[in-house]
């Protein structure tokens, strides 16, 4: 038996995602937090909860020209490369220039639903709000900050596969 204390805000998000959690007993509610007890039969779902929290709360460290930057994954919208430099674009932290090449970032970010969409761009799929097809068989992605990026033809198949992965 394990007792876990959640903030109420986190719990609400988790309850939305894992409906099973709402069936568990809340043994204590205090201020902004609440406690839930997981029995042995609930360990499997608990593992999923942890994975989810880890993914959502993961922060990645990137080498910058002046040192290192620690950026939450959910902040990142896309990466853009210019020669040896790569710009990391975020929702609220602005643009950060980092030193990691795109091919390394592609591997590093794969578990976090990032996908390479052209030679110069890696995009966070969770930030895409609309996809348009163009007459030249490319895709135009609109991100939640109104930015538009293009998926080049040779990366369309890879993009589709990534979208189809559950």
């Amino acid at each position: 038996m394990i007792k876990i204390v959640f903030s109420k805000e986190d719990a609400k998000q988790l309850f939305n995602h894992f409906q099973y959690l709402s069936q568990l007993e809340v043994i204590e509610e205090q201020g902004d937090s609440l406690s839930i007890v997981f029995n042995e039969q609930d360990y499997e779902i608990l593992k999923e909860v942890f994975d989810y929290i880890q993914n959502d709360r993961t922060q990645l460290v990137f080498q910058t020209p002046s040192g290192y930057a620690k950026v939450p994954v959910y902040e990142i919208t896309y990466f853009e490369s210019f020669g040896n430099e790569v710009d990391l674009h975020t929702l609220s932290l602005g643009k950060i220039t980092i030193k990691e090449p795109l091919y390394q970032l592609e591997e590093l970010l794969a578990p976090h639903h990032f996908v390479r969409i052209s030679k110069s761009y890696i995009v966070n799929l969770k930030k895409v709000v609309f996809i348009r097809t163009t007459l030249n068989a490319k895709l135009d992605l609109e991100l939640n900050n109104r930015t538009h990026l293009q998926v080049s033809r040779s990366y369309v198949r890879q993009f589709k596969q990534k979208l189809d992965i559950k």
Binding site: N16, L125, K126, V129, F130
Partner: protein, 650 residues
């Protein structure tokens, strides 16, 4: 708007519409995929409503643009579509048709009679004849006006078989000959009719087509009414495969590939306002009446008869019909157009002649289009021109222009001391109007076309030129440049005694052969003549042969189809003309060579010694001339320069 441009724009538009629809469809699929991804990964990003609005706006706008553009492209009339403002209308019922023709000035008991008063009392033979078909490398038969548009005649050949229906009064026989490998003529079979008479023949790759008629005399009016038929035979086995019968009087017919086009005349009766068609194919018999809704009329032209068009597809054995109120006298046809002319007669009896003296004669020219796929014939336009159009050769179409010559008959007004009349002749260049069915005049030549009292005798169109012969006492042969349709101009005049009744273009160097009549100084005909002309810059004939048969007459001098002709374009080793002179029992061949001083050779005479009457026709097959009269066939060899065979026919 030009047809190709219209379809070009439409295809481009269609391509764009399809592309955009495909784009929108794929966009929809991608976003559906994205939505699934977002659901699976609890991504809280909802598609803003504006995307749906944009999508729907695009769909609606696109359809609107497509519909509006299509209406713009195809809603407007062109040369090939119906214009919006039509003078010609169609009937909605047989009652309306009968009411309309009853208003005719011609209406009386004689017309619009009841069929019950017209029961046939006895049958008798009424002879008719003439007309013909095409040429190929190894053989020549009918001389046609338009390449690819076959004209009917009493003889047809495909280079192996020759079918010949004698040009005699009430002929009921078609002779089927075969030309053997050694060029001998063999009579292999005969088709004999008991109740029908043979008018004309056509020959296709598969079939022999016989145009037939029955004729009755009705009392007390002593008028004749016909039943006309088309019999289609397998040309190898001579098995009858299809019969088409109608109560029309056929006026003209043409064959384009495997489709027979018939122009017929039908007198409207109270009992049968529309013509009836009976068809027998194998064991199946069907019959139907012309749909009255396919009958056109002009308000001002009430007449108790209609002209009927029939297209008969011999591949599928299907028919298409339409008609208009009125009677035609000339029919021109190319592969996609039919032009007919009818004289507008607004008065009757002696009043007619007074009217003609006062106002001259007016001819209505009507244009119909043929749909290449469906073989449907559709009315397009009309124009009223001064004078008469006396021959189909006076009509021609080049590009979008209808070129047509007309002449007013020279009338002697006994009340006048000086009856000299000028400007009797007209050359019109017309084209369709986009918005109405009234053709517009692009060019008109009247001044200088013919001298005092001269009327047109023959016309020959060729691309950007036309040759016109006028005559009263001498024969001016005018060459008129039509390269600028709005400004037809006379570029050459050749004068000589006599006149040509038929002109045949010989080559592209301005050479033509004229068949016609020699006259004395007063313009009286003294005999037949053949003339060779250079029409580019010569002011007189290059060579003329007068036939030594005073007052002779040749059918071929007026009926172009009957003439056997091999000109420089015929792709045969010999260049010649061949015709018969009535009453001589001879067929004459004249070799033509414009490089020689004697352009027209002495006559080669093919004599049907025992024949009483005329040699009807001759055909050319592989260096031989096969000539036919009612009871004889005589073969002449160019190589041996002699008659090689003579066979008697029953």
């Amino acid at each position: 708007m030009m047809e190709w441009l219209r379809y070009g724009i439409f295809i481009i538009l269609l391509f764009i519409v399809i592309s955009v629809i495909l784009k929108m469809f794929t966009t929809f699929l991608w976003n559906k995929r994205l939505k699934t991804f977002q659901d699976n990964h609890e991504v809280d990003v909802t598609t803003p409503p504006r995307y749906k609005t944009v999508l729907w706006t695009r769909v609606v706008s696109l359809l609107l643009v497509f519909v509006l553009t299509s209406i713009f492209l195809f809603g407007q009339p062109t040369n090939y579509d119906k214009p919006s403002n039509l003078a010609a209308k169609t009937f909605v019922s047989e009652d309306e048709l009968l009411a309309f023709v009853s208003e005719s000035q011609y209406y009386n008991q004689f017309y619009l009679r009841s069929d019950s008063a017209l029961a046939p009392t006895d049958t008798f033979l009424v002879g008719e004849n003439i007309e013909s078909d095409n040429s190929d490398q190894g053989y020549l038969d009918t001389n046609v006006q338009v390449d690819g548009v076959m004209e009917a005649d009493i003889i047809k050949t495909d280079g192996t078989f020759i079918f010949y229906a004698p040009n005699s009064y009430g002929n009921q026989t078609i002779n089927a000959f075969e030309v053997t490998e050694n060029k001998d003529l063999v009579l292999r079979d005969q088709i004999k009719f008991e109740n029908h008479f043979v008018n004309d023949l056509f020959l296709t790759k598969e079939y022999l087509v016989a145009i037939l008629y029955e004729s009755y005399m009705y009392r007390p009016f002593f008028t004749t009414s016909r039943k006309q038929l088309v019999h289609v035979y397998d040309k190898n086995s001579l098995e009858l495969v299809y019969e088409f019968e109608s109560n029309l009087s056929f006026i003209e017919y043409r064959m384009i590939e495997d489709t027979l086009y018939i122009v017929g005349d039908y007198y409207i009766t109270k009992d049968n306002p529309t013509p009836k068609f009976d068809i027998i194919k194998g064991d199946v018999e069907t019959s139907y009446n012309l749909d009255v809704k396919k009958v056109f009329y002009y308000n001002e032209m009430s007449f108790p008869s209609m002209t009927v068009f029939i297209s008969l597809d011999l591949e599928t054995f299907t028919q298409k019909t339409m008609a208009f109120i009125g009677q035609v006298n000339q029919v021109y046809m190319n592969k996609d157009t039919i032009i007919v002319t009818q004289i507008i007669v607004k008065q009757f009896g002696w009043q007619l002649f007074e009217k003609i003296f006062q106002e001259g004669i007016t001819t209505r020219v009507m244009k119909f289009t043929i749909d290449d796929d469906s073989k449907n014939i559709a009315y397009r336009s009309y124009f009223d021109l001064k004078g008469l159009v006396q021959n189909q050769l006076w009509i021609d179409i080049e590009d979008q222009y209808l070129r047509i010559a007309s002449t007013e008959p020279y009338l002697v007004d006994f009340n006048l001391t000086d009856s000299v009349t000028n400007n009797l002749n007209n050359l019109y260049i017309l084209k369709d109007d986009l918005n109405s069915d009234l053709m517009v005049v692009v060019g008109h030549l009247n001044n200088g076309l013919g001298k005092k009292n001269e009327t047109i005798k023959s016309v020959s169109f060729n691309k950007d030129e036309v040759k016109i012969v006028t005559f009263y006492q001498t024969d001016p042969l005018y060459t008129i440049d039509l390269s600028t349709p709005s400004n037809p101009r006379i570029v050459n005049i050749i004068e000589e005694p006599g006149f040509s009744s038929y002109l045949h273009l010989w080559d592209d160097d301005g050479h033509i052969i004229g068949l016609g009549f020699q006259t004395d100084n007063n313009g009286r005909v003294t005999g037949l003549k053949i003339s060779a002309y250079q029409t580019n810059d010569s002011e007189e004939p290059l060579y003329t042969v007068e036939l030594d048969r005073k007052y002779g007459y040749s059918e071929q001098f007026y009926n172009h189809r009957a003439l056997l002709v091999s000109n420089a374009k015929a792709n045969t080793p010999y260049q010649f003309i061949g015709f018969s002179v009535n009453g001589t029992n001879q067929f004459l061949i004249y070799m033509i060579d414009f490089t020689k001083e004697q352009i027209i050779s002495e006559a080669i005479t093919i004599d049907h010694n025992k024949t009483y009457g005329n040699v009807d026709r001759g055909v050319y097959i592989g260096g031989m001339i096969y000539t036919f009269s009612k009871d004889k066939a005589v073969t002449y060899s160019f190589e041996q320069n002699e008659v090689t065979q003579s066979i008697d026919l029953d």
